[in-house]
């Protein structure tokens, strides 16, 4: 395997990590707000809070890691994407800032209020929508290069069916991933009313997820036929994704093995996300950035890989400790151990 592919695989793993844990976080915010509106907050909010409190900060890091790593491995991407994503990127940043800081203000500060819940719920939907434009732009057609200057065409982005189908997929996926995780978490906490409530959310968002993915495929076939044709070469990955989806749906429906069900959801998205990624190659941005040409100097590339491996030796034990103390600590999950 050559350096460019090692680099993009590492980065894609982090993007996938962000997809899962940020989805749980974003969806949780939406469900908190929704259950407050429907006066069911007493049922689910305790579960959501117990999970989110110790881990919220970690979520952002995955995103930054992906961005910094992407620029490190492929510096040319900074030039193209940096120019194109000024507006959507800035909007995502503003929303992330509001979300992160308000979460802390409410959680570590004194009290919660409705404005906070609203912001927390809504930003969770708008952030993925604006971040997903990065993926849309990568398909080409929204950036042109004229006389050495990169030009971004927002009108094309807003008028594109493909672009909206990606936004739709991003939002429903978040809600599905989040609901299936929280169902599992509630089950571990033996909080059965919450589990029932969250399970209905998971079931409700399952079908829209599949519908949205089909829509994205259809949109892609029209927007970027080259990529679509390459995706068909990896049809088995998308088929595996569908199988995992059906498996998880069955388990959640039958109310058993919620842990396995969530694992299947993770696999569902892993197959789809990596299938998308691998068929996207060799272009990082159609048709301007080819992975081979964009790769940084070899010495820097290997230095980054070395730093990454060294970093993993530090991070993996730390993450295991975090998970053992909070996520997989039955007593904490049930609310037996208080911190503050």
């Amino acid at each position: 395997m050559n350096l460019a592919y090692i680099g993009i695989t590492v980065l894609w793993l982090f993007a996938y990590g962000y997809l899962i844990i940020a989805s749980i976080d974003f969806g949780a915010g939406f469900f908190s707000y929704y259950s407050m509106l429907t006066r069911k907050e007493h049922v689910v909010n305790r579960i959501i809070e117990r999970y989110l409190s110790p881990v919220w900060e970690v979520t952002n890091v995955f995103l930054i890691f992906f961005i910094v790593g992407f620029i490190g491995f492929f510096p040319d991407t900074a030039y193209y994407y940096g120019t194109a994503l000024l507006i959507p990127g800035s909007i995502a940043l503003i929303l992330l800032t509001i979300r992160g800081s308000f979460y802390a203000f409410a959680n570590y500060g004194v009290r919660k209020n409705k404005i906070y819940m609203f912001l927390y719920g809504m930003t969770g939907l708008f952030i993925p929508a604006s971040l997903s434009t990065g993926l849309t732009i990568s398909e080409g057609g929204f950036i042109t290069k004229e006389a050495g200057t990169v030009l971004f065409h927002p009108d094309r982005l807003f008028g594109s069916l493909y672009s909206w189908s990606v936004v739709f997929l991003a939002i429903v996926s978040i809600l599905y991933i989040s609901a299936s995780f929280l169902t599992y978490y509630a089950d571990r906490a033996h909080d059965f009313p919450a589990r029932q409530q969250l399970r209905t959310y998971a079931l409700a968002w399952s079908m829209p997820t599949i519908l949205a993915s089909l829509l994205v495929f259809w949109g892609l076939s029209m927007h970027n036929p080259t990529h679509f044709a390459r995706a068909l070469d990896y049809a088995w990955m998308f088929a595996a994704s569908l199988v995992c989806f059906l498996g998880s749906l069955y388990l959640i429906w039958k109310q058993k093995k919620f842990g396995i069900a969530f694992l299947l959801v993770m696999f569902q998205f892993a197959f789809a996300f990596f299938g998308y990624g691998i068929s996207h190659l060799p272009y990082l941005l159609y048709p301007y950035i080819h992975i081979r040409d964009a790769l940084t100097h070899t010495s820097m590339g290997w230095a980054l890989v070395a730093a990454f491996i060294a970093g993993l030796f530090l991070l993996v034990p730390a993450i295991v400790l975090l998970l053992r103390l909070f996520l997989f600590n039955a007593e904490y999950v049930k609310g037996g151990k208080e911190g503050k």
Binding site: E57, F65, V68, L304, L322, L325, F326
Partner: protein, 451 residues
């Protein structure tokens, strides 16, 4: 206005806001850890409570630091795409490692916050503060390395016809000539400013007539640290002067309004500059000062601005920002020394209201100094974004919508500043440590009356 100006404004605004929280984020964990460690060592509930209360405030500021740090991290690519394209090739390693360091810190902060009473041996909880310090300090170290690279780029050669970087050496880029002095100065001043911030809070309550031992212990702890750190920071500043004389003479000369290359150069403090004749009026001159600062000897020959092409002169106002931050640095050292002397001298009253007012003032001043020092360092690098390689105006985005983004972020930062302050105020209002000690049954009412 063009996109270069707007991009500069937005970057300035974001960093000016971020570095306040970043400084707290780097420095305060050290004090939290010291307080908890002392509390466990001396079995003193006052220090244990100090660690808890500092943590409670800290976590609010850290959240703002995290989100604004995310902003500046992404903004570098959004506003300065050409810069990141070029710099990404050479200096992305420390940028990448900074993310790891922060990741590490974030994980342990999550653990630290929620495990106060969960371990059978309290020392385990204290141990989780160590990775927080390592993570936050190394974040500062790595990011300062990137900034150092902008001042003294190293670790590559430029291929003449194409202008591209070749033979990249990431390690040499990280450990460029500016790295040692910059890292030392940034880290020590972040610890210093955090110490004085905590000291000024304690001094405020003592001034208000709260005489509980808790406040006095907090002030003694932070003043001892503040004394040592202020000396370290001044020393690191002196090294920076020597570094500048050798590697960035234009910055040093602009900071000092030093026009003519000469030996036995005096240090000019304050004054007013005549822009045409380059004469300095009403200033205070320290004979041989600049030669000593720059080269460690009165005989040292310091390059003047006249030997530097005029289109490469940094703006000359940094003379004032430099003078002011140095003055504040010496003020901090002086007031900490005074406090320690009065404490040590049996007949002295280290709790004198005027001294308390001086310490109260020192907290905000230390943050003013952080801002001024940062302005001096960044403006002093102008017109370059990467010294000698790339000018600022060649690095900015070609988009013409930065003005709009600037307005949005300005509103955002104003909002954050107001809400953050309000939240912190409400968090501690009417919940003094005296009350909390009793609530936690760490101290009875009787003791409080006696003390």
């Amino acid at each position: 206005m063009d996109s270069v100006i707007w991009s500069r404004l937005l970057t300035t605004e974001t960093l000016a806001f971020h570095i306040i929280f970043a400084t707290i984020g780097v420095g305060v964990p050290v004090f939290i850890s010291i307080a908890e460690g002392l509390g466990l060592l001396k079995k003193d509930p006052h220090y244990l409570l100090m660690a808890r209360r500092w943590t409670r405030g800290f976590v609010i500021t850290v959240a703002v630091g995290v989100v604004t740090g995310t902003c500046i991290g992404v903004m570098l690519s959004l506003l300065w795409p050409q810069f990141m394209q070029l710099a990404g090739n050479v200096i992305s390693l420390p940028l990448f490692m900074e993310t790891f360091a922060f990741f590490f810190e974030a994980i342990f902060l999550g653990i630290y916050l929620y495990t106060w009473d969960r371990f059978k041996k309290p020392i385990y909880h204290w141990l989780t503060s160590i990775p927080i310090i390592i993570g936050s300090t190394f974040s500062a170290v790595f990011i300062t390395m990137v900034n150092s690279f902008m001042n003294t780029p190293a670790g590559f050669t430029i291929d003449k016809p194409s202008g591209k970087f070749t033979s990249i050496d990431p390690i040499a880029a990280m450990f460029n000539p500016a790295t040692p002095t910059k890292v030392a100065h940034v880290v020590s001043s972040a610890y210093l400013a955090s110490g004085f911030l905590l000291a000024s809070i304690a001094a405020y309550f003592i001034l208000r007539g709260r005489n509980h031992e808790y406040f006095k212990k907090a002030l003694k702890l932070t003043m001892i640290a503040g004394f040592a750190l202020s000396l370290l920071t001044i020393l690191a500043g002196d090294f920076s002067g020597k570094f500048l004389a050798k590697y960035q003479p234009a910055k040093l000369a602009a900071m000092e309004w030093h026009f003519e290359t000469k030996k036995e150069a005096p240090l000019i403090v304050g004054g007013i500059l005549d822009k045409d004749t380059h004469e300095v009026k009403y200033s205070f001159k320290i004979p041989y000062g600049l030669s000593i600062l720059g080269l460690g000897s009165p005989e040292g020959k310091i390059t003047g601005l006249q030997d530097i092409p005029k289109d490469q002169w940094p703006p000359l106002f940094i003379h004032y920002t430099f003078d002011m931050k140095v003055t504040i640095g010496f003020y901090l050292a002086a007031i900490a020394t005074l406090f320690l002397l009065l404490w040590w001298w049996k007949r002295g009253n280290e709790w004198h209201p005027w001294l308390m007012r001086g310490i109260l003032l020192a907290g905000p001043l230390s943050f003013v100094a952080i801002e001024l020092g940062w302005i001096t360092a960044e403006v002093g690098r102008q017109p370059w974004i990467i010294q000698g390689i790339m000018r600022v105006q060649h690095a900015a985005t070609s988009s013409n919508q930065v003005g709009l983004i600037f307005v949005l972020f300005t509103i955002l930062y104003c909002l954050l500043a107001v809400i953050c302050t309000t939240v912190l105020y409400r968090l501690f209002k009417g919940k003094g440590p005296e009350k909390e000690l009793i609530e936690r049954k760490w101290e009875s009412d009787v003791e409080v009356v006696n003390s």
